[in-house]
């Protein structure tokens, strides 16, 4: 009976989107109304369309590559990183949760997620213009809708943008899994993911990243009007290059709420819960680092200077964080550990994410080093204060690293500190920067909004999952391991 309810809950979420969507499946007849494709989506709309700019093949190739790199970060990267840290009896449960959550979110992204996040709506959510990706490709005319980048008249096919952003949505949801690994019920994970993705991820992504694109700023007069159509935090001027708020703080807070609500593992603090395979964790961390070049440099949406800056910052900050965590651990805990080095890499990657193309090289040095030390403190001292069994330190690494990175982005964006500044007027396209204090305050407000939205949505989503199927497996099943009880298989045979 409970199993049936789980399926009903899952497919309920899907089918509510199916009904209104049938009208959208035919090629959209008003693509120009839909940003960020507004720029070049005009073909066929009028009798004499202006010649649409064609995508640059280098940009398209880079974005396709980046998309595949972010997939690699998640599976196998994140799955192995997390999998190595749990006990052998729960290995497959972690791999399965990551694998299936990733797939679930990619499907939901194409059904309604992309539309809610990246089409014009209000300041909090997008619209429903792109349900089932309707309007991205006209099969009759052979026309592909275009998505804007950060340069005028430089579009990429919207489908590339959809795919790139799909991987972001999916990996964000997968990150949360580490917080309640080793005791959560698989069906509860899926119900939670559907709800949290729908109401927290798409909303924060829209608030931070949705705007009308540079081509919409055709005259000085429309600047205010176009700004007003963007997401709330974009309008406030929050800087988030590749997802400090959208991905890491969002996931980290949901993870912490989950760790509290699902409860501690049986034997937590009394029994040894040692990682069962740190070489896999190292491989996972290395795949994350490599894939993160697609994540951060890909977020430039073009193969250009901004991508180059993001690429180098991702490289440097991560290396700094590895050293900082390693030497910090050596100094304060006695020995430099492999798990510490791998954790430091992820902490550095997380912290440089909002900053990647938004700071200069000095920013990368400071943000990376700070991330290694602050996250080391977070998984030791802060974790004890919080009292939650966040199994794989999703909060300590992703929320704390994300908050640190988001705040420091406001500091090191300043041209005086080697940062590139940002465009505050997309008609003139002139780099500007107010004051560090103002920008940090804007960053802090964006962080606050993310914490509240993610926290509240996660709380409700976990409560609903608890009511429908219950959040955790029985104590006996937990002791025996999730692999054999939830999935009917074992990872290792001796």
């Amino acid at each position: 009976m409970k199993r049936l309810l789980t399926f009903l809950a899952l497919f309920g979420a899907l089918s509510f989107a199916v009904t209104p969507a049938t009208a959208q499946i035919k090629p959209a007849d008003k693509p120009a109304a839909t940003a960020p494709a507004a720029a070049a989506a005009a073909p066929g709309a009028t009798a004499t369309p202006a010649p649409a700019p064609t995508p640059n093949k280098g940009d398209v190739a880079w974005m396709l590559t980046s998309t595949a790199l972010v997939l690699m970060m998640s599976i196998p990267g994140l799955a192995l990183f997390y999998g190595g840290m749990v006990r052998a009896k729960n290995m497959l449960s972690v791999l399965m949760q990551v694998f299936v959550t990733f797939s679930l979110i990619v499907v939901l992204w194409c059904v309604y997620g992309y539309s809610l996040a990246f089409t014009e709506g209000n300041a909090y959510f997008g619209g429903l213009d792109r349900l089932f990706l309707g309007g991205t490709f006209d099969a009759v005319k052979g026309d592909f809708a275009m998505a804007a980048t950060f340069s005028k008249a430089t579009p990429i096919p919207e489908l590339v943008f959809v795919a790139f952003q799909a991987t972001f949505a999916a990996i964000t949801c997968c990150l949360i899994l580490g917080a309640f690994a080793e005791r959560v019920k698989f069906s509860a994970v899926l119900i939670f993911m559907v709800l949290w993705f729908t109401f927290s991820y798409t909303s924060i992504a829209h608030m931070v990243w949705f705007w009308m694109g540079p081509d919409a700023y055709t005259t000085a007069k429309v600047v205010d009007e176009m700004n007003g159509k963007a997401g709330l935090l974009w309008q406030w001027g929050a800087l988030d290059f590749a997802g400090g708020t959208v991905v890491h703080i969002n996931a980290g807070i949901a993870g912490l709420v989950g760790a509290y609500l699902v409860g501690k593992r049986v034997g937590f603090g009394k029994e040894a819960m040692t990682p069962h395979n740190l070489p896999m964790t190292m491989i996972g961390a290395a795949l994350l680092w490599m894939g993160w070049f697609g994540f951060n440099a890909g977020s430039a949406l073009e193969a250009n200077n901004s991508a180059a800056l993001a690429f180098m910052n991702t490289f440097l900050a991560t290396a700094c964080a590895v050293l900082a965590w390693t030497f910090g651990e050596w100094l304060f805990k006695g020995k430099p550990s492999m798990l510490g080095a791998a954790s430091g890499a992820v902490a550095g990657l997380v912290a440089i994410t909002p900053a990647a193309g938004n700071v200069g090289i000095p920013g990368a040095f400071v943000i990376g080093t700070a991330a290694g030390l602050v996250c080391l403190w977070a998984v030791n001292q802060l974790k004890r204060w919080l009292g939650a069994d966040d199994s794989l330190d999703v909060f300590g690494v992703h929320a704390v690293g994300g908050i640190l990175g988001a705040l420091l982005t406001g500091v090191f964006n300043a041209p005086a500190l080697g940062g590139p500044g940002f465009y505050n007027n997309w008609f003139e396209m002139k780099p500007g920067f107010g004051s560090i204090l103002d920008q940090v305050w804007i960053q802090a407000q964006a962080i606050g909004v993310t914490i509240v939205v993610s926290g509240v949505v996660a709380l409700i989503a976990f409560k609903i999952a608890d009511l429908i199927v219950g959040l955790r497996v029985t104590e006996e099943e937990e002791r025996e391991g999730l692999d054999v009880n939830s999935h009917g298989e074992t990872a290792y045979h001796t």
Partner: protein
């Protein structure tokens, strides 16, 4: 006949096996085991979590020999497994009532 059970450090296995072969022991059974004795365990630290590992990996060897070889065998094991540091292990000696070779049905010292 005697049965010797010895607990030794894992990296000493090859030397002990060679020493036993040299004195004419015809067979040895080896098991990977864990245990604790006077040698203390160690502490492992994973991010914030500290775990004390009490049981250390050791090798257990079992060898059956004729009674007259006992002193020689004990000396061989002692010499080969000794590092002089705590945790070198122990040798236990038992009387062995009967031995049967399954293939031929031989019994007693002939079956060794």
């Amino acid at each position: 006949m005697k049965l010797i059970t010895a607990i030794i450090k894992p990296f000493k296995l090859d030397e002990v096996r060679e020493a036993l072969s040299a004195i004419g022991a015809t067979g040895v059974t080896v098991t990977e085991v864990k245990g604790f004795g006077r040698q203390k365990g160690h502490t492992e630290l994973y991010r914030g979590a500290e775990y004390v590992v009490d049981f250390l990996p050791k090798i257990k060897i079992e060898v059956a020999i004729k009674s007259e070889m006992l002193e020689q065998a004990i000396e061989a094991i002692e010499k080969a497994a000794n590092t002089g540091k705590i945790g070198d292990g122990k040798v236990f000696v038992f009387d062995l009532e009967q031995v049967i070779r399954i293939r031929t049905g031989e019994t007693g010292a002939d079956a060794l």
